[in-house]
């Protein structure tokens, strides 16, 4: 009954590595740059360079590649689904025919491109979350969004909500698992029946989960107020983010590699 234990996306693993020490803002910007490049690059050489770059990044983070790949498992279905859709629906040179379905050369090409893009997308985002603690991540986002304060975007509040949400993901997952187990012990069945029945079967999980979550939110709000929390204005940070020479070198190398991968068309 380990429903959630296999999900590795969003997990943070502490290691003593260069990547872990990078400024979170640098890492967030890097991931944004990588994702942008992934969708601009149009050659296999380019993909190969980005792939190599990601591999180096993950190795530098001292996180076992196996663990990163595990995070992709739940999304394999989506990747293979898009792959097949592209195989069969792209018009062009027909190279194989199954019944009324035609596989085209262009289809294979585009399908593989999209799959690699999705693969890299997951790889780069899990690289970010695996190496950056949730607190550092939200600090980084807050700082990155702070320029939006001019147009009254509540950057601090957004970051605070993210921190709280991230903080409660494991708690809620644990709680869900416990409620599921408790209901199974009372004979609940989550694995059989038709769709309507199955959705009904989830009520005994959802309702207690929501009730408990609201209780928790209430408690948390009171606890925050009891400690005089009143928003972000004039608030200082315990951890000061600072960009130093390693960050500069990292971002320059990243930019260089990504530009090369985009421009390199053999």
């Amino acid at each position: 009954m380990m429903f959630f234990r296999n999900i590795t996306i969003g997990q943070y693993i502490y290691r003593d590595s260069i990547i872990h020490k990078l400024d979170p803002r640098v890492k967030i910007i890097t991931v944004i740059l990588i994702i942008t490049t992934i969708f601009l690059v149009n050659s296999w050489t380019g993909f190969f360079i980005i792939g190599f770059y990601l591999f180096i990044n993950i190795s530098l983070a001292k996180v076992h590649p196996k663990f990163v790949l595990k995070g992709i498992k739940p999304l394999l279905f989506i990747i293979s689904f898009t792959l097949l859709i592209h195989f069969f629906t792209t018009p062009g040179d027909i190279i194989y025919r199954i019944w009324i379905l035609n596989i085209t050369r262009e289809g294979i090409h585009r399908g593989l491109f999209i799959s690699v893009r999705l693969f890299y997308l997951i790889l780069s985002t899990s690289w970010l979350t695996l190496t950056t603690s949730p607190i550092a991540l939200t600090d980084g986002i807050e700082k990155l969004l702070s320029f939006l304060k001019i147009i009254r975007v509540p950057a601090h509040e957004i970051a605070m909500m993210m921190t709280i949400a991230l903080r409660f993901i494991p708690t809620l997952m644990e709680e869900t698992e416990k409620i599921i187990k408790a209901q199974i012990a009372r004979g609940a069945d989550f694995e059989s029946g038709n769709l309507v029945k199955r959705i009904q079967n989830f009520l005994p999980i959802i309702i207690p989960l929501f009730i408990n979550a609201f209780h928790r939110a209430d408690d948390l709000a009171i606890a925050m107020e009891a400690r005089c929390y009143r928003g972000g204005e004039g608030r200082t940070h315990y951890r000061q983010l600072s960009i130093n020479s390693i960050d500069h070198v990292f971002i320059i190398i990243t930019l260089f590699i990504l530009i090369v991968s985009y421009l390199w068309v053999v």
Binding site: A185, R186, I211, N212
Partner: protein, 287 residues
């Protein structure tokens, strides 16, 4: 023999960076009609053990037999197992979801295939077992109850599936003293009047000494003691203190008296026994 755990181990997050061993090499036999108390520190594997007992999790190593059937050999049988062995988690009131107490308690038996006509009967019976009045409670919302009542309704919702064994994970946690003693008398009734086999986890040594007939002490995923309360609280006091478990207060007092050389017997479990011993001591001094 009713439940038999044979060399059972359990590891969370097997083959992952956060792999943690919760239980290792557990051998345990439980007979019908026992009242077993499980004590041990937080994180010693008590809750994992309870979940193994009714097939909620599958051991990573070893086998679990219930009435001589390996419960993980035939997955379809698991529901029958859960009908025989009821498990009430810690804070069981956190799983409430129905609009009234009748429906809440009927959820279990309904799932187990009890016919509609018989539901009233089984809800009535289980409310009676936890000493609550059917007529005045059946239409109330489970969320409108007091903490102690909630706990008893939650336990009634397990009793409604009519299990032979009832597993209780810290049933008295965070209850006020009055609700606590009310609940304990319900548990005693379940054991004596309704002849249920009870397996109970508690941090309260007084309760354990008073109620349990057999105590299992766990540490770091292993069973380190398995004996009667008297033997455990008599012979293994130092060992218990070593692993940081407290003794019942009377037992401790008598143990200290003995240590300073007073001729009292050790392994005292209840205040009554202690009274007798102390009176004996006082009378002897008078002579």
């Amino acid at each position: 023999m009713f439940i038999h755990l044979k060399d059972v181990s359990y590891t969370y997050n097997l083959n992952m960076p956060f792999e943690t061993v919760a239980l290792k090499g557990i051998n345990l036999k439980v007979n019908r009609g026992e009242f077993i108390g499980i004590i041990g520190h937080t994180g010693c594997g008590k809750t994992t053990l309870l979940q193994l007992l009714n097939g909620l999790i599958e051991p990573t190593k070893g086998q679990i037999f219930i009435e001589n059937i390996d419960i993980h050999k035939n997955k379809k049988k698991l529901k029958e197992i859960r009908k025989k062995i009821g498990l009430s988690f810690q804070y069981p009131e956190n799983q409430f979801f129905e609009e009234n107490i009748f429906k809440e308690i009927a959820f279990g038996p309904k799932n187990m295939g009890v016919a509609e006509e018989q539901l009233v009967q089984s809800v009535k019976k289980s409310l009676q077992m936890v000493d609550m009045d059917y007529q005045s409670f059946k239409d109330r919302s489970p969320f409108s109850l007091s903490g102690g009542e909630m706990r008893r309704v939650a336990i009634a919702s397990i009793l409604a599936i009519d299990p032979e064994v009832i597993i209780l994970d810290e049933p008295t946690a965070s209850l006020d003293p009055q609700s606590c003693s009310k609940l304990l008398s319900v548990i005693v009734d379940l054991y004596q009047k309704y002849h249920k086999t009870i397996i109970m986890v508690s941090h309260n040594m007084e309760i354990m000494a008073k109620l349990a007939r057999r105590i299992i002490v766990m540490e770091k995923g292993e069973i380190i003691m398995d004996d009667t309360p008297r033997n455990i609280f008599q012979k293994s006091i130092d060992r218990l203190e070593d692993i940081g478990l407290s003794l019942p207060q009377v037992t401790y007092t008598m143990y200290k008296l003995k240590k300073i050389g007073k001729p009292v017997s050790s392994g005292i479990l209840t205040v009554e026994e202690a009274k007798e011993e102390i009176l004996k001591l006082v009378n002897e001094n008078k002579k």
